[in-house]
């Protein structure tokens, strides 16, 4: 029976982690819904998470646009469907590539940042100092960060989509000249709001995942510098993993609720 003990511990740790995360989320929800509201901190976090992630997200979006254009052009030409090139780019960027790339880039940048910052505050007793000053760390630290992630993620996705489409067109135009207007008109032909809005707004769920997991890892870490490093790493790994898993569920959900 020696194999059962480590397995049992693993299962126990798994449920304990989810249980703690649930309690943590409940505490934040309760704090966030009762005054005083930390408006200034929210604005600061919107800037920190939104504006400062924009260059990275734009760069990632641009790179994806170029790569997608090169790959799609070659494949579509091979199958004699070159005329579908603009639509292929637009649909794949807006429906999947833009949201998931934004989710993963923000998981990396923001998840690591929040995880390390809060973990550093935790091990240096700054979070305890907030508590003894009668300031709720859930209300002051976690809620604004999570809310900022939720609000900024769809906007960053729009930026990533825009850069990807622009660079996709540009990469194609270098090989086969086509006006941007024609590219967009052809690409968006037959598209409706339900084509774009659900995939864009699903990233709010990614934002919730990134914010919640990184705040949880940061605020519950133990140990010194090692604990800070561990919290940052776990924040990125778990947030990325859960973003990918959530994407699978959300794509199915969107296909059921908003059929093409």
């Amino acid at each position: 029976m020696p194999i059962l003990t480590p397995l049992g511990e693993l299962v126990n740790d798994f449920f304990e982690w989810f249980g703690s995360l649930g309690i943590f989320a409940w505490n934040i929800a309760r704090s966030a819904c009762t005054p005083p509201f930390e408006g200034r901190e929210l604005v600061r976090q919107l800037d920190e998470i939104g504006s400062k992630s924009l260059p990275l997200v734009a760069l990632a979006g641009s790179a994806i646009g170029v790569v997608l254009a090169m790959q799609a052009r070659q494949s579509l030409t091979q199958f004699g469907a070159k005329s579908l090139f603009p639509s292929a780019i637009v649909y794949s960027v807006v429906q999947e590539m833009g949201p998931i790339i934004t989710g993963l880039v923000v998981s990396g940048r923001v998840g690591a940042g929040i995880g390390a910052e809060l973990a550093s505050m935790k091990v240096s007793e700054q979070i305890d100092a907030l508590e003894v000053s009668a300031v709720s760390p859930y209300r002051f630290l976690a809620a604004p960060r999570i809310l900022a992630c939720v609000l900024m993620m769809p906007l960053l996705t729009v930026a990533a989509d825009f850069c990807a489409l622009l660079m996709g067109w540009f990469a194609n135009a270098l090989v086969e000249p086509m006006s941007l207007h024609r590219f967009m008109e052809s690409g968006f032909n037959g598209a409706t709001l339900s084509t774009f809005l659900p995939p864009t707004f699903k990233t709010a769920v990614f934002g919730l995942i990134v914010g919640l997991i990184s705040c949880f890892q940061g605020m519950t870490t133990t140990g010194g510098a090692e604990g800070v490093g561990r919290a940052a790493t776990k924040s990125v790994v778990l947030a990325s993993l859960f973003v990918i898993l959530a994407d699978v569920v959300l794509v199915k959900f969107i296909l059921v609720v908003f059929p093409i």
């Binding site: 005083p36 240096s124 007793e125 700054q126 100092a129 003894v132 000053s133 009668a134 300031v135």
Partner: protein
């Protein structure tokens, strides 16, 4: 502004009623802190084993003991950062066990806490650190009044010329002074100090001791000072509690400790 600063050392802040202090010396007062038969363990490690103590208004109690004997845990229980496994902790007459953050808030506003390593917010400068509790709890005060109050407490702890510095640029003693200013800014009735002289040179320790004595004299607040510095405890405290292995060995004045025949007390005093 100058007049504000000039008045600072002569205690323009609210002072505790003198009657409380007198009651304290008679032992008749309602205790500010009442810890009763508290047990606390972390896994298999039993840190506190049935500790009881009271702190009356105007009293300064030093909690002494070797490292790892549960002194800091006791402070964290009193301030509500941790909960006892059994026993009760009453602060200002209210049992703090099981209270939520929002329920604890009114009690915590009447307490100040100086952490062992000061725990200053490293993204805020000295003045912003001190102003932090005011910004959150004294929305009724105008910003200029809050700033005056910050200058006043910084002056009291001798940090008035360092207000723009970041915590990373401060020495250990300066960080503790800033932490003390932050603990004082809401004008608490009870101040909890966790190893206030640890890691400081003899001059720095003496300065912190003098500061505590001055605050006692001017504000008549109650103090609980956790320390293993016997000299500091003797200088600032009027009652001492000695802990060993999570139990109270002796509770009394310094003279009572000196006259004790308990082996551990004699050993502790001998090596202090």
């Amino acid at each position: 502004m100058n007049s504000t600063l000039a008045n600072a050392r002569s205690s323009s802040r609210t002072t505790r009623p003198v009657a409380n202090v007198q009651e304290s010396s008679n032992g008749d007062a309602t205790p500010i802190v009442n810890v009763e038969d508290v047990y606390k363990a972390f896994g298999q490690q039993h840190v506190l084993n049935g500790v009881s103590l009271t702190v009356n208004p105007g009293e300064t109690r030093a909690v002494l003991g070797r490292s790892g004997t549960g002194k800091s845990v006791l402070l964290r229980l009193i301030v509500g950062l941790q909960e006892p496994d059994s026993g009760t902790v009453k602060v200002f007459g209210e049992n703090t066990t099981g209270l939520s953050l929002d329920q604890l808030a009114p009690i915590r506003k009447k307490m100040g806490f100086l952490f062992q390593h000061a725990a200053l917010y490293d993204s805020l400068n000295v003045a912003e650190n001190v102003a932090f509790p005011l910004r959150h709890h004294r929305a009724d005060m105008a910003r200029s009044e809050q700033n005056d109050r910050v200058r006043q407490v910084l002056y009291e702890v001798g940090m008035e010329n360092q207000s723009a510095k970041m915590p990373a640029d401060l020495s250990g003693g300066m960080q503790k002074r800033t932490g003390l200013a932050r603990a004082l800014v809401l004008d608490p009735e009870l101040l909890l100090l966790d190893e206030p002289t640890a890691g400081l040179d003899p001059m720095g320790s003496a300065e912190i001791n003098e500061l505590v004595l001055k605050l006692q004299k001017e504000h008549h607040m109650a103090f609980i000072v956790v320390t293993h510095d016997m000299h500091s405890a003797r200088t600032i405290a009027n009652r001492l509690t000695l802990l060993n292995k999570g139990c109270v060995v002796i509770d009394g004045s310094f003279e009572e400790l000196q006259d004790s025949s308990i082996e551990f007390v004699r050993e502790f005093l001998k090596h202090s």
